[in-house]
Symmetry: C2
Subunit: 485 residues, 2 copies
């Protein structure tokens, strides 16, 4: 179109009585309106975590309709999503793009059930890929705790309120069509998370999920004494860097040991009257309580990890909802870039500090980056907390099963038998020396590990089928994911 | 890119110390980073109205740099923007896309100064055009009352706080690059209007504008007794339709007579204990006071028309900020579609009810649709309030100078000498009959007008140069705009 040379249409008479109603009655009407067909990309978010009913319900309706060759763009998949397995096996779902995957569906994919590929992204990488158009979404189905008649989606009202919808935000902007799936229709909006102009259709279902399922998976603090010892050591290391001071910006992952670090850090901050600037991430009630106690000025929240957090964000202005883009996208100066520390887990780490959180030692997918890549890049100091070995399975290996987070962004490994510092970070070594905190090279730490359990063999992947990829947050493919026989 | 068949990059090592700082020092650095060049499309918003310093300042810097052939996508232009005239004359600015234009710059364009074309859109049409990609923006410069170091833009902090940035929202999403121009750098965000992930660069200037300029142009209530009589008549007509009742959704334009309607409506609502659901639009302190008094449950605000309104939106949850898309875009079920009434002005209206608010009787541009097209379409009843003639210049004509709002969306004309109802709206005629409110056809009303001032000649445009277009909100070109010699 030559925008500045166009023809006048004379006597143009728009019909002002022709107004849209977004609310549709049932999936048949919805799918007709959406012109749902084979080969489409369909997206979902995981804010209801293992309590989400929407992904299964929509996919079952798609399955019933006989649609094939769907690319499933789900921000995460949980054990509750095992009903997808037959849909993967019969070609309803061909490809999957996600940031985390656990349970039977992850196992089935590792065993080769998917006809296409699985791409594992980080949370920030997912936002980047969607916003840039690398990943195109035909229809985004947004599990909406509440929604008004115009399509203003709220995460703080309704039975399954989850507080925030940070992972659905990019989808709501970029998907060709957006559907709000809700069990709670409001007359008027209340604390809108996704505004009505992004929403094409609204469908009411009996229930979008079980709010108790929000607490699930990896979001419980460890009670294991070894885990607690590691967490205490990690705080000692943090203090040694000199960065635990007023203005601290902090995030921990959702693993049990990472959450324990937060607890011990809180004790230290209280004792030394330290006020941090913000804590970020998926947010637990513990973090909310730290803010209420005055240990942090504010919380940046992309996803509530429990109902205490989801309740708090309703009215507490210091508790700020953020999109995955704002949180972690590599495109712009995201919140992760302001972090002093991030505390993360690892199933494997190699001597180049590359971390695997996608697959277990057996190669079966049981997790994913989530914000791992993003925060490791962004934080001044990224710290991995992990047992050195467990049930004779080593943590430090020569080559991780799937590189999730590149070693150039991982700084310190804290285990129960010692601390290793990435040789790229001589500044951190100096700080630890000064503080009298002992550390060693990761090779030395591996020797200690191997002295207990023997050296593991490097797996030969040469004849294994590639079932997917580990994608870095900037879109680079950094590793293959292989089928496990 | 075949997304599901890609190569692994081995030993990928992102440099975590390479982090962006969005704050640039001065326009030279900014323009270098933006790779500013000839032919680009540059956008601005008008929330600071006739008090805005940003548009002129940025364009003067662009002018200094010798850049040519800019398409200026400004949501509105005001008398303060007259420094653009030499830039139009020397080819710095070639084309202009806007929703409102007044003052010397509008006059110069009418006289043929622009080498390219001017396209006049509605507020909702502008949002649609940007979101759809019909209008592409290379760089959006967003006058930001305050901005934190990451680029979270606030409209409620800073010296020139304007409350809302509804017109800049689409630009912030779709522009290739977004620059926050601010005089107030915050350490941390406060009531973010445009989130940091949309902002590429931040530049600090001495002052973004004069907050007193926000009250300007057409936003003062009339004191003229004839205008007040028209306003009272309009309320009588509204009541006759039966729609002035609990749940009322209401908007008035920013013209003096329209604002007077709001005042008399408030009196009626008080007297009859009516509680409306919402008032929307550009929002004045009067509207805020009506909400505080309990006459409306909430306000939807795309732009604050005075500082009382801008102050109120800081903390009043019932006062809801909205983007131009949410307000008025034709794509989705916008707020305008819920309106019962809109009260609007007209410089001319023809016997098909087509309205001109772009040009005066002399053909010189002196306004624009703003939300005129959008609300006339959306409201159940759209009412034009206008004097029948002024200084012997007729309001009702055979053919308006520039069709801004198609007659099929305009329902009632209220003048000091009578009311005309669009023949398409037999339902409204019935209601008025029932209520005993007299009305006539627009042809009859024109006869009354002509009996005072004589019949105007229809202008012959056949040999006049087309300098631009009136675009309908859905993108259709509905009229030419001609040069005035």
């Amino acid at each position: 179109m030559d925008y500045f040379n166009r023809e006048v249409i004379n006597n143009y008479a728009p019909d002002k009585s022709a107004k849209e109603n977004k609310i549709v009655e049932g999936f048949d009407e919805l799918f007709d309106k959406l012109d749902l067909k084979d080969g489409m990309s369909i997206s979902f978010h995981h804010h209801l975590r293992n309590g989400d009913y929407v992904l299964n319900q929509v996919m079952e309706e798609i399955h019933k309709r006989g649609i094939k060759d769907i690319t499933l763009v789900a921000s995460s998949l949980f054990p509750i999503n095992s009903p997808l397995i037959p849909m993967i096996e019969d070609g309803t779902i061909t490809n999957i793009i996600t940031s985390y995957m656990s349970g039977d569906v992850a196992r089935a994919i590792s065993k080769g059930a998917l006809k296409g590929k699985v791409v594992m992204q980080s949370h920030g990488g997912r936002a980047r890929a969607i916003m840039s158009g690398d990943v195109k979404i035909d229809i985004a189905f947004i599990a909406s705790p509440a929604c008004d008649k115009r399509g203003n989606i709220s995460a703080t009202e309704g039975n399954a309120f989850c507080g925030v919808l940070g992972y659905a935000y990019a989808d709501s902007i970029m998907a060709a069509k957006v559907v709000a799936v809700t069990d709670t229709l409001l007359e008027y909006e209340s604390k809108t998370e996704i505004p009505s102009e992004r929403v094409d259709y609204i469908i009411k279902v009996d229930s979008i999920g079980d709010p108790n399922g929000i607490i699930s998976g990896t979001t419980r603090i460890t009670k294991d004494p070894v885990g607690l010892r590691i967490a205490q050591k990690a705080v000692e290391v943090m203090v040694a860097t000199g960065l635990v001071k007023n203005g601290l910006c902090y995030q921990s992952g959702a693993g049990g040991a990472s959450l324990a670090v937060t607890k011990f850090l809180a004790d230290y901050m209280k004792e030394h009257n330290i006020v941090g600037e913000f804590a970020s991430g998926g947010v637990t009630g513990d973090l909310v309580n730290m803010m209420k106690y005055g240990l942090f000025n504010r919380i940046y929240d992309v996803q509530c990890f429990d109902l205490v957090s989801a309740e708090n964000i309703k009215d507490d202005k210091r508790h700020i909802s953020m999109s995955a883009e704002k949180y972690a996208s590599p495109n712009k100066d995201a919140i992760v870039n302001s972090l002093d520390f991030v505390i993360l887990g690892a199933t494997e780490i190699d001597t180049d500090f590359n971390v695997n959180v996608i697959s277990g030692h057996d190669g079966i997918i049981m997790g994913g980056s989530g914000g791992h890549q993003d925060t490791a890049f962004g934080a001044k100091v990224s710290i991995i907390v992990s047992k050195l070995f467990q049930s004779r399975i080593p943590t430090i290996v020569d080559r991780v099963g799937v590189i999730t987070t590149p070693g150039s962004t991982v700084d310190i490994l804290v285990t129960e038998r010692g601390v290793a510092v990435n040789c790229r970070r001589s500044d951190l070594k100096e700080a630890l020396d000064k503080a009298g905190v002992s550390y060693m090279s990761i090779e030395e730490l591996k020797k200690i590990q191997d002295s207990f359990i023997g050296e593991a063999k490097v797996k030969d992947n040469s004849d294994r089928r590639v079932i997917g990829y580990s994608e870095y947050r900037d879109g680079t493919i950094i590793d293959n994911i292989y089928e496990v026989k």
